[in-house]
């Protein structure tokens, strides 16, 4: 993983999560803002996939278990589509909160991925 990118990923998903949770609790239905913020998080996750594939070949191998790392990353990649599908089928304020919960979970998972890559020993 790349430190700067990890900060961007965690920051963006936290921000997207807080915005969606707050808007949802204020009673807003899923909107362009909340759905697109999840799309942006997904794009960042896909960039993270590319980084994770390339990094070990450029002298940046994980200190922890690569398989464990990939389980986190693959699961994280599935969450924005699932949350957006939820938002498209259930047009209520609670779907906006679900979008936020999904984004916040990704922030936690990205933190764990960073731990596995940089701190945990295999």
């Amino acid at each position: 993983m790349i430190d700067v990118f990890t900060v961007i990923l965690i920051g963006a998903s936290t921000l997207a999560g807080v915005i969606a949770v707050v808007l949802g609790l204020l009673g807003r239905k899923p909107s362009d803002v909340t759905v697109i913020s999840l799309v942006i998080v997904e794009l960042l996750l896909i960039a993270q996939v590319v980084i994770a594939i390339a990094a070990p070949f450029t002298g940046n191998p994980p200190t922890g278990n690569l398989g464990e790392f990939w389980i986190y990353l693959a699961t994280a990649c599935l969450m924005p589509p699932a949350a957006i599908a939820w938002a498209l089928t259930d047009r209520s304020r609670w779907s906006t909160v679900v979008l936020g919960v999904g984004a916040l979970a990704i922030a936690v998972m990205a933190y764990r991925m960073n731990q596995i890559w940089n701190i945990q020993l295999a």
Partner: protein, 146 residues
Amino acid sequence: MSTRPKLAGPARILVAVYAVLAIAATGRSAFQIIDRFDEAPIAFSLSAVAAVVYLLATLALAFRWDRVAWITIGFELLGVLVVGTLTLVAPDLIGLRDVPLLDRATGREGTVWALFGLGYLCVPLVLPVIGLLYLGRGRRAAAVAD
């Protein structure tokens, strides 16, 4: 699903959070068991049990199997309290004697209920309480409706 009465709004959040926790616990415990079961067999087995119970609780909440929801969520609260206490005061009982304190929740031997769910921001401790309160409220509402 369409013939069922819709879940109350906040209950949908409960289902979503349970689903995330179920996926997280399942993925992690499955990997730990396949990769390094020998390192902490009791802890990893407990984690797998927790994962299955989270899956069941998610389904029970979503499809309104109230009895199953009571049992699974009650079991979770019991599990997080018992395992949380053991990891804190008697780690050797679940085979984690040589694991440093915080690593019991967040390290490679980390599991979902360890240290009261610290590795999952204590969501495993808070969630069953909210779940039971929600179920209790539904039961009272049903009693009034009868």
